[in-house]
């Protein structure tokens, strides 16, 4: 049972801790797991989260930054005042828990449908688009020299990678071809500056409370690149959960997002943001194709994966709305 390993681990680095309770797996593929648990402490229980690759799963997929880099980025973000959980401990071989890290649990909601509908978040919703702009500005300003080693991708290279991913699926889709052509024709070239890019900044990866954004999660796709990528990705229709007239995660307008970003002293390039929104929509479509492929070829033969494969058509209609809009 994982609680025994966790208890031995916390006893070593958390002063006063006497054990752990309530360990429960929150999510997990074969190579990455997330667990929640409580550290028993004389001052009261401490809510914690473990993110790890279990023993025997060392190599991360090529696009992933790796758990050590993720921990370092979260710590940097936390220190810079970007909403982020506090990293408490990076796993060592002595922990006997695999590789990964333990962070303090941040209370709040990540389920987009609840955030977009429940009364609890009614006061926060109108503030979120602008607030997200400020959070992204802070994230893009994290000092380059303190960042862990991360992959770096130019725009042109990124289009080629998506094209390769798409072709490897052997899944001819005229709408995707059209989007790929559009991306090639509208390639904005190298960004004027290269910054840290979160890479998966969207509704679902943000912990939100009644007061707004409390933490940015899932830094595994962090890389160096065009900061406008994060602004485009958060506007992809798939993260609006039905609120299609509010591009920023179903919360608010691009103008509010841009205003929050610029109020924090950074500049927006709206044409590049639009480019990344198209790219992001195609990217999610190709990821749906990847799910379909993994469902078909295993090992994860789950119904959920199968159904995500069928969601590629959502990105097709969104791409058409972006590239070939019909008159109203």
């Amino acid at each position: 049972m994982i609680e025994a390993e966790l208890s031995r681990s916390v006893a070593r680095w958390c002063k006063g801790a006497t054990g752990v309770t309530g360990a429960a797996k929150l999510s997990g593929g074969a190579s990455q797991e997330t667990w929640r648990f409580d550290i028993t402490h004389p001052d009261g229980p401490i809510g914690a989260i473990l993110r790890r690759s279990p023993k025997g799963y060392g190599a991360a997929p090529t696009r992933a930054a790796g758990l050590a880099a993720e921990a370092q980025l979260m710590q940097l973000a936390y220190e810079a005042g970007v909403p982020s959980p506090r990293v408490m401990h990076v796993l060592t071989p002595d922990d006997d828990l695999g590789t990964g890290f333990i962070m303090q649990r941040v209370e709040g909601e990540t389920i987009a449908r609840k955030i977009l509908r429940d009364d609890e978040f009614a006061a926060a919703r109108p503030l979120l688009a602008r607030q997200i702009g400020g959070v992204l500005a802070g994230l893009h300003r994290l000092p380059r020299d303190k960042l862990p080693e991360l992959r770096s991708r130019g725009v042109t290279q990124e289009i080629s990678e998506f094209e390769r991913d798409y072709r490897s699926l052997k899944w001819p889709k005229p709408v995707f071809e059209l989007a790929l052509r559009w991306l090639r024709d509208h390639d904005p070239g190298p960004s004027v500056e290269t910054t840290l890019v979160h890479g998966d900044f969207r509704n679902g990866n943000l912990i939100i409370g009644s007061d707004g954004v409390r933490a940015v999660l899932d830094w595994e796709l962090a890389h160096l690149g065009d900061p406008m990528e994060d602004l485009g990705w958060v506007c992809v229709n798939s993260w609006r959960f039905g609120e299609i007239d509010k591009p920023v995660g179903g919360f608010g307008s691009r103008e509010e997002l841009f205003a929050g970003y610029e109020a924090a002293g950074r500049k927006v390039d709206p044409a590049r943001v639009k480019f990344w929104e198209v790219m992001g929509t195609l990217r999610w479509g190709i990821m749906c194709g990847g799910m379909m492929q993994r469902f078909r070829e295993g090992p994860d033969h789950s119904m959920e994966r199968a159904m995500i494969g069928r969601r590629a058509s959502e990105t097709e209609i969104d791409l058409l709305r972006l590239l070939a809009p019909r008159g109203s």
């Binding site: 001819p172 889709k173 005229p174 709408v175 995707f176 071809e177 059209l178 790929l180 052509r181 229709n237 609006r240 039905g242 609120e243 299609i244 119904m303 959920e304 199968a306 159904m307 069928r310 969601r311 058509s313 959502e314 097709e316 209609i317 969104d318 058409l320 709305r321 590239l323 070939a324 019909r326 109203s328």
Partner: protein, 125 residues
């Protein structure tokens, strides 16, 4: 010719059984998975109902657009290749209309509650 009831009637009967009789008995993660299973059966039922008609119309449009014949898969592969080569684009008469019609038919099966689809459905093409 296979016997009856038809696959459409059978999948619909299973989905209705799971929805009405089993859903109230199940909770937690299993309830979530049950909902996914019901959604799959509903999707399959919609596809079985609509596919023949929408594929026939798609093939007809593709033949006109490409000036060639083939199965729906072959024709889609050919269209994808021509777009990739730049021989066909949004300036090509009929392409945008074809892609819209095909995509709307897909969404009608895959995700009829998707907000973008509902918005476009309420619009005159």
């Amino acid at each position: 010719m296979q016997d009856e009831p038809t696959p459409i009637e059978l999948t619909k009967a299973v989905a209705d059984f799971l929805r009405s009789d089993i859903t109230p008995l199940i909770s937690g993660h299993q309830a979530f998975k049950l909902r996914v299973a019901i959604n799959i059966l509903d999707l399959v039922t919609r596809q079985l109902t609509q596919e023949a008609g929408s594929d026939a119309k798609e093939v007809e449009r593709l033949r006109a657009l490409l000036g060639m014949d083939g199965s729906v898969t072959e024709l889609n592969r050919a269209l994808a290749e021509r777009i990739a080569k730049g021989e066909v684009d949004l300036a090509t008469p009929g392409l945008a209309e074809h892609l819209w019609a095909t995509t709307m038919d897909k969404l009608a099966v895959d995700q009829p509650n998707y907000a973008s689809y509902k918005r476009e459905l309420g619009r005159n093409p």
